[in-house]
Symmetry: D2
Subunit: 126 residues, 4 copies
């Protein structure tokens, strides 16, 4: 279990016409945080060499407070390996001094035929 | 409780480099199905006249099978009002003869200040 | 040269916080129209069997009038083959009784190594 | 006329099933570069205080070379005010030692009724 912080601004692309961040975009934000923690080059290398890639098995997101254009979101992340086939991430998006959203994400690894494979040893934080 | 079907094709915009539908996009698909069921013009009118809009409180998605460019997804939806402030939707995305993903979504209504308001009488399927 | 019409609604996902359709999304809309005209299954089959896919070489879009959540856009499309390697599409997005945007798009075909190949005979409207 | 550099990684969200960056996403990348150059907080403040926001009038993008998951794109930007109502940006996306894409974007300013207004004095790089 480790703790990491990832910080990002909110642009036009992130919002919808009601004035706040569009809800599916948080899944992108949480993924960006995970990729920066592990290293996108590392994930890319495993894909190119082994054809193995992370895949989302389950995600649960609770939306607590709205976030607006021009705000900055800080994402706090931790994870643990759950058996040989799954990594569980706990992530918190923080903005305007309150929790914006929180998520629990179950991630597996699949090969190029989309078949389940064990989480690579060097990728326990996939 | 009602049952509805919404059908849609998978385009380039829906996929990622691993060859399958990118996971946050299912949240868009489930929302498209909800909007078509209720009528996007109806949701738009409530927004323009009352400043009230649906907001996602919680979403849980389980991803079961991959979907590819050129596939067609059928989304089956049902919902129920849960108290005065919440609508719960159950949705199933079906493709290639199997379940692609399923979701449970808790939806609330907020005013133009992003404050919680009761689900509008004429919008119990918000 | 042919003329086609494709019609679509505007959802939350299409807008940004200024209240109108977010400008890059028109490129998705124009592509949806092209794919429906030719058949997404057809494009998918050429990809699976030959590894050949359309790629955008150049696009020019002029934005004329704003489009809002709940509006409906009609896209009018025509195209012509320009030599053996390029198809040029002319597309017009129409909403609220006026032109919303118009685009000219130059499309080529590439193989699985991203090398230029001639437009497939059966895909002159790629 | 000024020159600026903005650098960003390519994630899953940026790609499509053909393995490369999906073409409309470059419009997001070019906008991110513009917003970071001027300051997204500054653009946000003008929106909140005056209801004025940048709007795209015309964009022309040429796609030169493919970019892949895990790559890094550097965006070089320069701009000039063209009269009182328009700013023209020239932007180059650079990856893998070659030009990935280049764009010329004509940007105007609109008020909360989507009517054209002069580029704000303090926003000549809108």
């Amino acid at each position: 279990m480790s703790d990491y912080k990832y910080s990002m601004p909110i642009y036009f692309e992130d919002t919808d016409h009601t004035g706040v961040v569009y809800h599916p975009n948080y899944l992108k934000f949480f993924e960006r945080a995970r990729l920066e923690i592990l290293g996108v080059e590392h994930i890319s290398k495993i894909w190119q060499e082994q054809g193995v890639t992370p895949a989302i098995y389950k995600i649960e997101v609770t939306y607590k407070n709205p976030v607006f254009f021009g705000d900055r979101i800080d994402i706090y992340s931790s994870y643990k390996l759950d058996g040989k086939f799954k990594v569980i991430w706990y992530q918190l998006a923080w903005a305007r001094g309150v929790i914006a959203a929180e998520a629990q994400t179950h991630i597996i690894a699949v090969d190029s035929n989309k078949k389940l494979v064990p989480i690579p040893d060097n990728l326990s934080s996939l």
